[in-house]
């Protein structure tokens, strides 16, 4: 009996040691998503990029993830569970995970954390985000050129700087090609709610909009326009090419995979340091989906020229003269917006009607 116990415990020990060795070979990388991984937008694209990263490294990386994690107390628990489970690098892919990420990072100084769209960094917490407003400028340009009713609908999620920046950028560039253009903005207070997004699209179409831009993650707005047989829009976060060539005329695509690969590599090499990354079209973090055949050739050409200028760094979408909504000067002629103001943007530019919800 004793012998059996001894043999068994020896075997158990050997097994656990083998497990430890195997775990050392692999770098465990964790991802936490705020919504379902099949939302067709933000979360799916993070997850697809994570899978791409995993495919790049193959057996050298073990991927763990959790979807639909509420922001707040649960996020902190999920992150702790991941760190306890041996993850060496954890990506938290929603703004609301900021404080939980910082709290958990404090308890696990040897685990690296990457928080998307936040602004708090520490020795083991980096932040990363993409300059989506560059893509919004191109959207605004196409939208302003193509609208016949001069009314452009905008489905906004939360009134945070990221979303406000997108509205300003789109409006600015729509107005530049079409001085009569008018924006109708509907706030949904949700990132992902297909039913509400569909309702908002219908409302905007009824109000005369013939272009609807979205800053929410589902394909519902495009599906609604396809069903109604009117209106055009853009893919959000994902290409949403299944609605091309119309109503989807182009898209903003989030390209996280190169970043995820680079950061995982850095952890493997032991060269990871805390950084604040805000990349756009130039670095390949923001992709512009193919401009479809329903867009006139000259509009397509000028949109692509704008994309090239942004990529080359010769054009910044927020270049003065630009006034704030109240008419006061924000940027003087030729002045370029600084990243600090952009990061915390809490005002509309001149010409947009309505207030930012409070």
């Amino acid at each position: 009996m004793k012998l059996l116990k001894f043999v068994l415990s020896g075997a158990a020990l050997a097994l656990s040691l083998a497990g430890a060795v195997a775990a050392q070979d692999k770098t465990k990388v964790g991802f936490v998503y705020v919504g379902p991984i099949n939302d067709g937008g933000w979360n799916q694209h993070h997850h697809d990029s994570a899978l791409e990263m995993k495919a790049h490294f193959g057996d050298k990386v073990e991927l763990v993830y959790q979807e639909s994690v509420p922001e707040g107390a649960d996020a902190e628990r999920v992150l702790t569970q991941m760190a306890l489970g041996g993850a060496k690098l954890i990506f938290t892919t929603s703004f609301g995970y900021m404080d939980p990420t910082i709290n958990v990072a404090k308890k696990f100084p040897n685990v690296k954390f990457e928080h998307a769209t936040g602004y708090k960094t520490t020795d083991n917490v980096s932040v990363y985000s993409a300059r989506f407003y560059e893509g919004r400028a191109i959207q605004g340009h196409i939208a302003g050129s193509m609208t016949k009713s001069n009314i452009i609908g905008y489905i906004a999620s939360y009134p945070i700087p990221e979303v406000i920046r997108g509205i300003n950028s789109a409006y600015l560039h729509a107005k530049r090609v079409n001085p009569d253009v008018q924006f109708k903005i509907i706030w949904l207070f949700s990132w992902f709610d297909p039913a509400k997004e569909a309702d908002a699209t219908t409302t905007l179409l009824e109000q005369g909009a013939d272009v609807v831009l979205q800053h929410t993650d589902s394909t519902a707005p495009l599906a609604t326009m396809a069903k109604a047989g009117k209106g055009i829009g853009f893919g959000q976060a994902a290409d949403m090419a299944e609605y091309a060539p119309s109503p989807r005329v182009s898209s903003i695509i989030d390209l996280w995979a190169p970043y995820y690969i680079a950061r995982t590599q850095a952890v493997m090499d032991g060269t990871w340091t805390s950084v604040n990354t805000w990349d756009g079209i130039k670095a390949g973090m923001v992709g512009i989906g193919e401009i479809s055949s329903v867009v006139p050739a000259d509009v397509k050409a000028s949109a692509e020229a704008m994309k090239a200028a942004i990529a080359a760094g010769t054009y910044h979408p927020f270049t003065g003269p630009i006034n704030k909504q109240d008419g006061s000067v924000w940027l003087k002629d030729g002045e370029v917006a600084d990243d600090g103001t952009l990061a915390g943007m809490g005002f509309y530019i001149e010409g947009i009607v309505g207030d930012i919800p409070k």
């Binding site: 922001e71 107390a73 649960d74 902190e76 569970q81 306890l84 409070k358």
Partner: protein, 359 residues
């Protein structure tokens, strides 16, 4: 053939047995679901029910179990008192939100002053906030005879709008770079409701929950009002003859459940959640309804049910990180209520075998 026959009296044995049967049936049906998803059902069930308690990281999970169960128990106890009287407060989620907003607002009003009186004041404000929100369906029911189920439920969406508005305006962190959300209350010493002993997961909310369980136990079994509530639920006409004033029962039941939900919200916002944010609420108010029924509306039962529910959440994350889809865990939790209600038939009816004569 089977026939259902009404029992003259609710079976005491089955009342205790049905929750256990429901858990077992959930394990079997859930196991089948996991097997269809191509996972080893035994391994997943072990991850959900065993690992958080006795697994490698149990030292962390056990504390989290209490943190997660605390608000569930607190809210469920309040709901159960109303449910006994046939007063259906479905809007605890809204009262939870309003309690959190009111409590947080009091704490933030004092920022950055430090005083030991700030936290107790926040607790009072949290309770009052939840109570006041629950008074709306109570008064409407008394005055206009509205249905409290609908009113309290609809008020959840109103409360969510207040929450969004508070995160974006009134309570927004002035140093938050324009992002929504309040200052972090758990990082402000006077308002923080952090763990009292590190690693145990016990904060003031958990302690309050345990105290409320004891108080509720005494109340429902020893107090006259507790008896009146029970009678109102079982035989409203008899209660009326016995001199029970319905409006008093309605105000009391909704008030208590609202206040307890508000307290749960306050303890959560000042501790584990840390801040008022647009997505602060994460469904405790609704899950507590399941907990109340799973616990047979009995305080001790609710205590156990709250811990069990918390276990499925914590174990659920363990299983999800092993590759199980989140929806599978939600379905698993839903099955628990489904089976409970299904087996409930057995407490009120008995099954009789009847032989049908050939016609």
């Amino acid at each position: 053939m089977f026939q259902l026959e009404t029992r003259p009296q609710t079976s005491k044995t089955w009342v205790v047995l049905t929750p256990i049967l429901a858990v077992l049936a959930t394990m079997i049906a859930g196991g089948a679901l996991f097997a269809f998803l191509g996972k080893d059902p035994f391994q997943i069930i072990r991850m959900i029910f065993w690992d958080p308690l006795f697994g490698e990281f149990a030292f962390y999970y056990r504390g989290q179990l209490l943190t997660k169960a605390g608000p569930l128990i607190l809210i469920a106890i309040g709901l159960s008192i109303g449910f006994r009287a046939g007063i259906w407060n479905i809007g605890a989620e809204g009262q939870y939100i309003m309690g959190a907003i009111c409590g947080a607002a009091v704490g933030l009003a004092f920022y950055p002053a430090e005083s030991i009186f700030i936290f107790p004041l926040m607790v009072i404000a949290g309770g009052l906030g939840g109570w006041a929100w629950a008074m709306i369906p109570a008064l409407l029911k008394i005055r206009f005879g509205t249905n409290e189920i609908l009113v309290s439920l609809m008020l959840v969406y109103v409360a969510e709008s207040f929450l969004a508005s508070a995160s974006l305006g009134l309570l927004k962190n002035p140093e938050g770079h324009g992002f929504p959300g309040s200052r972090n209350l758990s990082q402000y010493a006077s308002s923080a409701n952090n763990e009292l002993i590190a690693g145990t997961g016990i904060h003031w909310g958990v302690i309050t929950a345990f105290l409320v369980v004891i108080m509720a136990y005494v109340f429902v079994s020893r107090h006259l009002l507790g008896f009146q509530i029970k009678v109102t639920g079982q035989a409203p006409r008899a209660a009326a003859f016995a001199g029970v004033i319905p409006s008093r029962i309605i105000t009391f039941c909704l008030g208590v459940s609202g206040a307890l939900a508000g307290l749960a919200g306050l303890f959560e916002v000042a501790g584990p959640a840390g801040q008022i944010s647009i997505d602060f609420n994460s469904g405790y108010g609704f899950t507590a309804i399941i907990v109340a029924f799973l616990g047979r509306l009995n305080p001790i039962g609710i205590l156990l049910a709250g811990l069990l529910m918390a276990l499925t959440y914590i174990g659920g994350t363990v299983a999800e990180q092993a590759g199980l889809p989140a929806a599978a865990i939600q379905a698993f939790q839903g099955m628990l209520l489904f089976f409970l209600l299904a087996f409930d038939v057995l407490s009120n009816y008995r099954i009789r075998m009847t032989r049908k004569e050939a016609a």
